[in-house]
Amino acid sequence: MKAIGIILAGGNSEMRLGELTNTRAASAMPIGGCYRTIDFPLSNMSSSRISKVAVITQYNSRSLNDHLASSKWWDFGRKQGGLFVFTPYISTDNSFWFRGTADSIYQNISFLKKSNETYAVIASGDAVYKMNYRDVIQYHKESGADITVVYKEIMDKDLTKFGILQMDENNRILEFEEKPIEPQTNCASLGIYIISRTLLIELLEQIVPEGRYDVVKDIIIRFRRKLTIKGYKFDGYWSNVGGGIKDYYNTNMDFLKQEVRDIFVKQYPYTTTKPKDEPPVKYNFGAEVADTIAGGGSIINGNINHSVLFRRVYIGENAVVKNSIIMEGCYIGNNCVIENAVFDKNVVISEGKHIVGEEDNPVVLKKGSVM
């Protein structure tokens, strides 16, 4: 049951996260105080004993590359297998950016051809969840499916942003509608697929030369009758951060809930990330902190409520921070008031500033802003 992993970390074309993804891919977005989104699928791969993983990236991949530069933290620094990062390149017969998800795999097809693992697990790099891909492979094998699509019954999110499945009683997918105006079910595809490696090569070599470049549109939907494509139901916590600022904000705030935090932090296997060796958080005399996550190396002098602080954040005296996400390296001066805000990395707010967003429309300050 050996499998290779493919993480599609390029997905950012619609710029749904606005200024936050100007400088990074959605899969490099900081999550929960110390993680980046890609840590979740990567840790899943590692804990599912998938030791050879390709991360395919395109948009603003610098910070992602930086994060992945050493693969030993996810236990991929091995002689056998390992982590491969593929970015678009130019050669004499090819000078394209990836034209779609399928194309991005096709342009690196030699990775698939040189492998000998039976299965390929394809996952997107922009969701937060914990899944044992082995269970899905087991299901895939036992059900005799050609392709398995992981889905979740989504209750509290806007279904028109998802790919919606309609299945028969054996979970065979009959219809797959991408972003339907009127969703027929609440079974949403999570963008996680299991397929045999050889079939994947075959399909890609067939569709890409025809000018078809998308995994969902040109493989799942187009082949739904010809191939047996089945759904695998996932019940655990799953949250997408690529869907917009609201999704990103809510995913981070979910980490303030013990039951969500425990999934990744207390229940084995843990989600791992690149360590930064920051010292402990320092709470000084004026610190009043409640319902808050803080990342290592932060120094807190002020009042913080219901917020997520990343690493090395400085909060000045009498500053008030509420319902906010403050990323790595931000400096908030004395007497500032920050509410309903998302500050990207290294934002500097000088003394006494008030930055207050609306409850369902947080203010976003881009990386390195100085006020």
């Binding site: 060796d277 010292p279 709470y283 319902d291 290592g296």
Partner: protein, 427 residues
């Protein structure tokens, strides 16, 4: 510094018996410090920050935790093709030898001459794994080379009235050492040896071999240094003017931890250019609950605080339940403090569990009955992996070790100065 110019030999085999129960199961260099660190992280981080990439760590007393912590040196970037970190334990040698322990600081180096020779360095840096400080060893090496020394000894200026507690270097005006006195009754200078030496390897090698014939317990301070002075080798004192702390006793260990929580600490962990690295395998962010209160404290990754924490140092993954009040205490990694418990001026070692409604560190300051010289400043200490049941009251200067149960506490109380040691372990 070229590849093999200098190798570091880190003496990490000491027990640190004045730390009492804290070193019952681990060597002193492996004792947790400053929340997330262990004492050995400081010299190890100094090594890589100084460009010393070849480090031998000499272990002897209870090396398990130390071995696990260091591993192949990944956290310090010491997993290298050339050099890196090597753990050197005493072992049986060939030729019918039954093997021997490291019997002294110099003897430990003597027994590893082969290891040093194999690396062929010009200089050897000898360090101990007992101190908290940041030091650039490459500057000390420059100084060593400039003065054409056989040995350079790092020294600290201590108050003259305390000088009789240290090994004192008597120097000429330009810091050339002419005499060494171990704990002199009437000190002539206030330059105390920090136990950090740079030797020119060829000279040290010779001295070690010579001395081993005379002293089976060969020691740097007692034998090698005096011997070198006698034979008129060039030795200089290298003055160190920054923070340096020996955390040898329960009280000084507690003090040094407490210094870190000051608003402007004398020892700064928050500098980017001289980072202290440690083994951070799984350390998620920390969470302070809606009713939590944290002031004047440092809290490590993965902690969850639902109660109140003041003037304290918490290691990774500590859980403080609701209603707790933690004051002036050190709580090491993976401890859980049950609901409504009060902890005052205590040191709680790793992986301890304190039940609900426990009061620790109350009552009068009576020195510990069994070990008054170790526990006498009011600090109650819980050893590693110890359990305290619900509802008990524990005094000051107490020592608790093992899985204690309600019946171990007559009237649900442990008076100040008393100890509960389970599993027949001596403190």
């Amino acid at each position: 510094m070229s590849k093999n110019e200098m190798i570091a030999m880190l003496l990490a085999g000491g027990q640190g018996s004045r730390l009492g129960i804290l070193t019952r199961k681990i060597a002193k260099p492996a004792v947790a410090f400053g929340g997330m660190y262990r004492i050995i992280d400081f010299p190890l981080s100094n090594c890589i920050n100084s460009g010393v990439y070849n480090v031998g760590v000499l272990t002897q007393y209870q090396p398990l935790r130390l071995n696990q912590h260091i591993g192949i040196g990944i956290p310090w970037d010491l997993d290298r093709k050339n050099g890196g970190v090597t753990i050197l334990a005493p072992h049986v040698k060939g030729g019918g030898d039954s093997g021997e322990w490291f019997t002294g600081t110099a003897n430990a180096i003597y027994q590893n001459i082969e290891f040093i020779d194999a690396n062929d360095p010009e200089y050897v840096l000898v360090l101990s794994g007992d101190h908290i400080y940041k030091m650039d060893y490459s500057q000390m090496l420059e100084y060593h080379k400039k003065n054409n020394c056989t040995a350079t000894i790092a020294v600290l200026e201590v108050p003259i009235e305390e000088a009789s507690r240290f090994g004192i270097m008597n120097t000429t005006e330009d810091d050339k050492i002419y005499e060494f006195e171990e704990k002199p009754a009437n000190p002539k200078s206030n330059l105390a040896s920090m136990g950090i030496y740079i030797f020119t390897w060829s000279k040290l090698r010779e001295a070690l071999i010579q001395d081993s014939k005379v002293h089976p317990d060969s020691d740097f301070g007692n034998h090698i240094i005096p011997k070198m002075l006698e034979s008129n080798e060039v030795m200089y004192a290298y003055r160190f003017r920054d923070y340096w702390k020996d955390v040898g006793t329960v009280e000084s260990y507690w003090q040094a931890n407490m210094e870190l929580i000051k608003t402007l600490p004398a020892f700064n962990l928050y500098e980017d250019f001289w980072k202290i690295y440690t083994n951070t395998d799984h350390q998620p962010p920390q969470y302070v609950g809606a009713n939590g209160k944290v002031k004047m404290s440092i809290i490590s990754d993965g902690c969850e605080v639902y109660g109140e924490v003041y003037n304290s140092v918490l290691g990774p993954e500590v859980i403080i339940e609701e209603g707790c009040v933690i004051k002036d205490s050190i709580i090491m990694s993976k401890c859980t403090i049950g609901k409504n418990s009060i902890i005052d001026r205590c040191i709680i070692d790793e992986e301890c569990t304190v039940g609900e409604n426990v009061k620790m560190g109350i009552g009068e300051n009576v020195p510990n009955k069994d070990k008054p010289s170790i526990y006498n400043t009011g600090i109650t200490v819980m050893g590693e992996d110890t359990t305290v049941p619900d509802g008990v009251e524990i005094g000051k200067n107490c020592v608790i070790f093992g899985k204690t149960q309600t019946q171990d506490y007559p009237d649900m109380k442990l008076e100040s100065g008393m100890s509960v040691i389970k599993e027949g372990v001596e403190i």
